[in-house]
């Protein structure tokens, strides 16, 4: 159970949404771009497309300091009140010193403790297997969810979402959203049972219901949401919150569920290029800590045009942000893998490998994986997080260095980067899984085996 004394006073946050400086949202957006550009120059932060996993500790420490400056100077924007919530340096420092350094998911034999990781950490990353809300049919939801829950390396799991329920479209804010949300939680727990892991933690037990009332309606033990499960609350990129998110926080703080924060800044968007977006992403973690009282953090920075985080610039961004946080805080943070290509393609396997290496060696836990740019219905399966997690475990096991990781990741990126804009969307779940056994098809298994041989020739062996 969370120790409220370790978090910034939430009522004070609410007060500041009403008392902070009022500014136009467009002016706030412009300020963000100006400040990240100025900080990039001031702290001499430079993206190098040939050094995706930098070993320059000084630079990643400067990114952390730039994020502190950005957070204190810019503040967090509340869109409902059009006011800026600001914090003092002392308040941020206090929050960082009091960060909870352990989060527990699951129950009984499935209880897992998650701790902060360090750069080049030899300890395994926690692996939060997730379908990242990929749309699937109601009929296939259970099978898809089971494909994640049953994976041995899954420390926790979460599910896809449905866009229609009993023949009716699931519409935001409508009664059907509440009905579908409850069904969603019930089905996730059912998937855990069918996977033979009834007590596994569900780190985000609600994907279908987005509104706060639907989320809270589904948060009951009788529907399958138990202490040791969790929910993620997303900031509105970039550096913004609203009352809808804060209502979820108000509920979760008093609940037995793990409160995770979720950030998805767009590289190329309001914060600028890879350097500015890296600064902003670190600053989002301060938002999560102080505004959301988050116990853990989850990031899915994505390329504004390609909607993935496996391009060169995105892998650099992921690496430096991970290193900045790991070296300068005790936060528990996970890297949400966003692939350009879809299931059962050679490209997705290489993308997963590159993203996992860059994340794991840089101090992240792993939250795989959105595939096919997270937008094509039915294109997701438990196989993608399996690949990502296997690679992550191997990186920790062999003690891969950043220098060696950089060499391998560069080789992988060179192989797929030209295909990112028109990446293959791959196969649907029922085309790449045997539905009677909920197992990947022989084709998918063979493809992975072939890729592992290729990686071995790169000097990286995943058994």
């Amino acid at each position: 159970m969370r120790d409220q004394g370790k978090f910034f006073n939430f009522l004070e946050v609410i007060k500041r949404t009403e008392s902070g400086e009022r500014i136009k949202e467009t002016d706030y957006d412009k300020e963000l771009g100006k400040k990240t550009l100025a900080l990039t120059k001031q702290y001499e932060i430079r993206y190098d497309p040939n050094l995706l996993i930098p070993t320059n500790d000084g630079m990643v420490d400067r990114i952390f300091q730039a994020a502190v400056d950005l957070f204190l100077d810019l503040g967090v924007y509340c869109t409902d009140t059009q006011r800026v919530i600001r914090f003092t340096q002392e308040e941020l420092q206090w929050a960082l010193e009091n960060v909870p350094q352990e989060v527990q998911y699951g129950r009984e034999k499935e209880t897992v403790s998650v701790y902060p990781r360090k750069v080049e950490d030899r300890r395994d990353p926690a692996c939060f297997f997730s379908a990242v809300g990929t749309p699937v049919t109601e009929e296939m939801f259970l099978s898809v969810a089971q494909s994640y829950a049953q994976e041995p390396l899954a420390d926790t799991f979460s599910g896809p979402l449905i866009i229609s329920y009993k023949g009716m479209p699931v519409t935001s804010g409508s009664p059907i959203e509440v009905e579908a949300a409850i069904w969603n939680t019930q089905m996730l727990r059912e998937a855990a049972k069918q996977a033979g892991r009834p007590h596994i933690g569900i780190h985000n037990f609600q994907s279908t219901g987005e509104k706060t009332d639907a989320t809270i309606a589904s948060a009951q033990e009788k529907f399958g949401a138990f202490p040791g499960d969790g929910l993620l609350v997303a900031a509105i990129a970039e550096m913004k919150v609203d009352f809808e998110r804060l209502k979820k926080v108000a509920f979760l703080r008093q609940s037995p569920y793990v409160l995770g924060a979720l950030y998805g800044p767009l590289m190329g968007g309001y914060a600028g290029g890879p350097e500015g977006t890296a600064i902003a992403l670190v600053a989002h973690h301060f938002l999560g800590l102080l505004v959301f009282s988050a116990e853990r953090h989850n990031s899915f920075p994505i390329h504004i045009h390609h909607v993935c985080n496996t391009s060169r610039d995105m892998l650099w961004l992921i690496s430096v942000v991970g290193q900045a946080l790991a070296r300068n805080s005790h936060l528990i943070f996970a890297s949400n893998a966003f692939m350009a290509s879809g299931p059962c393609t050679d490209m997705v396997i290489d993308e997963l490998c590159a993203q996992s290496i860059a994340s794991t060696v840089s101090g992240w836990h792993l939250n795989p994986a959105a595939v096919a740019k997270n937008r094509h219905p039915m294109r997701c399966s438990g196989m993608e997080p399996r690949i990502h997690a296997e690679v992550g475990h191997q990186v920790a096991k062999v003690g891969l260095t950043r220098k060696e990781a950089n060499r391998i990741v560069l080789r992988l990126v060179e192989g797929y980067e030209k295909r990112i804009p028109e990446a293959p969307i791959g196969k649907m779940f029922d085309e790449c899984y045997q539905l009677d056994k909920i197992r990947p098809t022989d084709e998918y298994e063979s493809l992975l085996a072939m890729k592992k041989k290729e990686w071995k020739s790169l000097g990286f062996e995943v058994i």
């Binding site: 979402l161 699931v170 504004i304 045009h305 997270n374 937008r375």
Partner: protein, 219 residues
């Protein structure tokens, strides 16, 4: 240097003072405002759009350039108001659909449309279907552009198209849709007239829908 070229460069550099002074210079030389905008400022913004598509520049630079262009265009607009004239404008009613607060894509589309000579009425985010309808009645736009980032909100898009039909407005306005979960096939299925994968494509489609130059995935 050619005046139009200077105007384009001022936009690319995001130099607001210069776009204003060049607009005044164009007027003093008797240049037609519409021609000056199209061959000068808009050409600069077209280059900015290209650079943004290839991510040689990022959104903050796009915004600075768009602001510079707006300041220059304002000089022409004020002049024409004094002459009781008006710049020709195709109008777009833009908004992120009900329940959805994710509007960065819509904001970029707005910048690009305005930079290409469209008059944009931005309804913001989380816009109920019936607000769109009321505004269509009030403003008679040429195009309604709707964005969504979530599957639970994109389902309001067909509701909007149905509501336009019920109100007898569907034949009077083109509908464009976009956003991460919106796929071209789905856009076609719900009866949208156009779909934009990116902001620049949205501009091309919008132009094609109203018979201006440009092409894209409009039906």
């Amino acid at each position: 240097m050619d005046l139009f070229k200077k105007m384009a460069e001022a936009v690319i550099e995001g130099d607001e003072e210069r776009t204003v002074s060049l607009a005044k210079e164009a007027l003093s030389k008797g240049v037609n405002p519409t021609e000056a905008i199209e061959k000068g400022f808009a050409e600069g913004m077209k280059e900015i759009g290209r650079l943004f598509e290839t991510l040689e520049i990022y959104l903050p630079q796009v915004i600075v350039s768009a602001d510079a262009m707006t300041a220059g265009v304002e000089v022409f607009r004020q002049y024409l108001l004094g002459q009781e004239g008006e710049l020709p404008k195709t109008t777009v009613l833009l908004g992120t659909i009900e329940g959805d607060v994710h509007d960065i894509g819509k904001n970029i589309v707005k910048i690009m449309l305005e930079s290409n000579g469209f008059k944009v009425y931005d309804l913001g985010r989380d816009v109920p279907v019936f607000n769109f309808i009321e505004k269509v009645k009030e403003l008679s736009p040429d195009i309604v552009g709707v964005s969504a980032l979530m599957t639970t909100t994109m389902v309001y898009m067909p509701k909007l198209i149905e509501a336009l039909k019920e109100e007898g407005l569907r034949g009077k306005v083109k509908v464009m849709v976009g956003g991460a979960p919106v796929l071209p096939k789905w856009a076609k299925e719900i009866g949208a007239d156009g779909y934009g994968e990116s902001a620049m494509e949205a501009v091309r489609v919008a132009k094609s829908l109203v018979g201006l130059q440009g092409e894209g995935k409009g039906d």
